[in-house]
């Protein structure tokens, strides 16, 4: 992928496909590192699938079950000397908790660091395609931050206006862009 923001889009699409009602995308950045977390409350993966999901050549499938998205993110992290971790839980009789959490760390100053790119566009794209699920987004750089919570937007709009109406997407894009202007000002 040319930008990490495209990896983010790709992994968050998995969350939506796993029937997440809320997908959280959190970027924590300082002068040297970026930590990306994508946390969803989707149906989660079995241990067997979880074991194979980062290995593009491991498969138990007869039909397509896992793709290349996670191996690509893992590669992007590891080529900077960082790493990717993934944990997942399916609901059981004992516990109703479920969801998947992916965390990747990157060394920003490494030659092979893929630039973050247009993260705001990724958020807008997710909402355009999935107006009925919620996304929480936070990007911090030292003490500054960019925040977006689709639940707040939904609360203002009420049930009659879908989040992917053009005017709404435009507003979301503008609010993110405005916040991004100040993110790296220290």
């Amino acid at each position: 992928m040319k930008e990490l923001s495209l990896n983010i889009l790709d992994i968050a699409e998995n969350s939506v496909k796993a029937n997440a009602t809320l997908t959280q995308i959190i970027l924590k950045e300082d002068a040297d590192t970026v930590t990306l977390s994508i946390i969803d409350d989707g149906k989660g993966m079995s241990e067997e699938i979880l074991r194979g999901v980062v290995d593009p050549f491991y498969t138990t499938r007869t039909t397509r079950k896992v793709g290349l998205g996670l191996p690509l993110l893992k590669m992007a992290a590891e080529q900077t000397g960082g790493e990717m971790k993934i944990s997942s839980k399916q609901a059981t009789d004992e516990s109703k908790e479920h969801g998947t959490s992916v965390t990747a760390t990157f060394n920003k100053n490494h030659l092979d660091f893929t630039p973050l790119g247009d993260v705001a566009s990724t958020i807008v794209t997710l909402i355009q395609g999935h107006p009925d699920t919620d996304f929480y987004f936070e990007h911090t750089y030292l003490q500054n931050s960019v925040n977006f919570d689709s639940r707040e937007v939904r609360q203002v709009l009420g049930p009659e206006i879908p989040l992917n109406e053009y005017e709404i997407l435009e507003w979301i894009s503008n609010t993110l862009e405005e916040q991004y202007k100040n993110l790296y000002k220290v």
């Binding site: 040319k2 495209l6 699409e13 690509l72 990724t122 355009q128 395609g129 507003w171």
Partner: protein, 122 residues
């Protein structure tokens, strides 16, 4: 988050319009947004469609949506256009520039751009 008040104002302006629009979309533009599509550049193509469909005043009839892997990864970004009573049109190796052209000529003008379709690749 800034300017939720502004959002409220947008909502008030839109209310009637959205109610009118419901169920009137007769054309569907579907963009493949799986790993293959995203890596090949589907995100800017999608955003260009969303932008241009609105700019050309087609939002009442054209719905732009996303799907997973269409199965022809080597042709990504792939865009399919579904219209009631017509055969599906599959555009391949799309770019934002081609997307603008498809909105203008195909969605607005009703003319398929044959050279961008999958048929022209085979």
């Amino acid at each position: 988050m800034k300017s939720l008040a502004e959002l409220q104002a947008i909502k008030d302006r839109m209310k009637d319009k959205v109610v009118l629009r419901e169920g009137t979309n007769s054309v569907r533009v579907v963009i493949g947004m799986a790993t293959c599509g995203i890596a090949a550049g589907a995100r800017p193509v999608l955003n260009k469609f969303v932008e241009e469909v609105n700019a050309k005043g087609l939002a009442d009839t054209v719905a732009v949506s996303q799907t997973g892997c269409i199965g022809i990864c080597q042709f990504e970004p792939v865009v399919e256009i579904f219209e009631a009573g017509k055969e599906k049109v599959t555009y391949v190796k799309m770019t934002p520039e081609k997307a603008s052209e498809v909105v203008e000529k195909h969605l607005k003008g009703g003319k398929v751009i044959a050279e961008y379709t999958i048929a022209a690749q085979q």
